[in-house]
């Protein structure tokens, strides 16, 4: 089987053969078709087939990623990535916006877990706190604005056949180009010498005082934030204030003016 495949592959010119024998390429093809089937569609068994294809794509994509060299962290990473990406797919595939919001919240929890996996403790907490608040507000908006009787027409439709295909394919091409550009980094990461001889000095530097994995992580982060980046913090605060004023101005504009209302009442 493999020999036959190799014989078949040897007839193809070099760059195309390199792409065609790559698991990531086939994962992206399966993923693109799967996501296309999962999006609001008229096919009878579109959802089941799409889920199957996306699952196959996920396994193929994970198969082609370099291993971390540590089984416990590898399993945790795969679980977190599966939760994050699966919930993200469900967000864009759900017909009802309420389910979209719930799936997005789950995807955010997965992202927070991935932050924690990399040792970014403060960011994990901030993501949960800030985005959970934002999501609850969005959720209330959805409940207030969505029609209670059945799904809205525009949630069961997209912009039509061609824009849907173009959107999915362009996203697949984007990931394909990004992974293609990272090919050399992957080759270096999968080389056994790199795995065996982990640069001890680099790891120690990360755990040393001032490194990103130091146990006084949040204290270090705060010192940097309010030391080197103090001006940026001030600018960000100003931006928040301006956004607040802008949001209030936009929301008030929706109501008729007082004079107008009095005029209408008198008429």
């Amino acid at each position: 089987m493999t020999a036959w495949l190799q014989k078949l592959a040897s007839g193809i010119p070099e760059p195309a053969r390199h792409v065609l024998t790559c698991a990531t390429f086939w994962a992206l093809v399966a993923g693109v078709i799967g996501v296309w089937l999962l999006l609001p569609t008229r096919l009878r068994y579109g959802k089941a087939l799409g889920s199957l294809l996306v699952a196959i794509a996920g396994v193929l994509f994970a198969f082609d990623l370099p291993l971390l060299g540590d089984w416990a962290s590898q399993v945790v990473l795969w679980l977190l990535a599966a939760v994050t990406l699966g919930a993200a797919i469900a967000t864009i595939a759900s017909q009802s916006p309420i389910y979209s919001a719930i799936w997005f919240a789950l995807s955010l929890l997965g992202t927070a877990g991935l932050f924690l996996f990399q040792g970014a403790q403060f960011l994990a907490g901030a993501t949960v706190v800030v985005y959970a608040g934002a999501i609850v507000v969005t959720f209330l908006f959805v409940i207030m604005l969505a029609q209670p009787e059945g799904h809205a027409r525009y949630d069961r439709l997209t912009w039509g056949g061609l824009p849907k295909i173009l959107g999915v394919v362009s996203a697949g091409l984007l990931v394909g180009i990004l992974t293609f550009m990272l090919g050399r980094a992957k080759q270096e990461a999968t080389r056994p010498t790199e795995m065996a001889a982990a640069p001890a000095g680099a790891v120690a530097a990360r755990h040393a005082e001032g490194g990103v994995l130091n146990e006084r992580h949040v204290a270090n982060l705060g010192r940097r934030l309010f030391g080197e980046h103090l001006l940026s913090v001030e600018v960000a605060g100003t931006l928040l204030l301006v956004a607040l004023v802008g949001a209030v101005a936009i929301a008030i504009q929706g109501k008729p003016r007082l004079a107008q209302r009095i005029e209408e009442a008198l008429r």
Partner: protein, 147 residues
């Protein structure tokens, strides 16, 4: 643990998250879902930034993510105010309701076939009631004032 492999894994996951958000933003028509997809793209970028920060042992990545979260909060405030305004004027959350803003000479977008809604798709989340039930006014249930 191989740090380069970790960086590559996080770049791949971040890229996939960004691509999924891109698909959702381009394909969906509900304004709230489009907004959620924009946030999803920001999450993908944040993952890559944290990955780079860890690989290079540099705090810049995490700093940038903190400011991304700040800007995303501003964006959420303004976007929700805008969506509220647009939904009030058009009566729904459909982006196509605002296609009058298109350029001169562009053909109008029309829905060709609206699919039939299957019964098994009409599922809504079941919310468990909490607390004591408030007294009901039968008059008010018949003439519910517009929310």
């Amino acid at each position: 643990m191989s740090e380069l492999a970790l960086l590559y894994n996080f770049l791949a996951i971040g890229g996939l998250l960004f691509a999924l958000g891109l698909i959702g933003f381009l394909v969906r028509r509900n304004m709230i879902v489009m907004f959620l997809c924009a946030e999803m793209m920001l999450q993908g970028i944040s993952l890559s930034l944290v990955g780079f920060g860890r690989y290079h042992n540099d705090w810049g990545g995490q700093m940038l993510v903190i400011f991304i979260i700040t800007v995303a909060a501003c964006e959420a405030g303004i976007a929700l105010a805008l969506i509220l305004m647009l939904a009030r004027r058009a009566g729904n959350l459909d982006t196509a309701a605002w296609q009058d803003l298109r350029e001169d000479g562009q053909p109008a977008f029309l829905d060709r076939q609206v699919p039939e809604e299957r019964l098994e798709d009409r599922v809504w989340p079941h919310l468990t009631p909490a607390g004591s039930e408030p007294p009901r006014d039968p008059e008010r249930e018949l003439h519910r004032p517009r929310v």
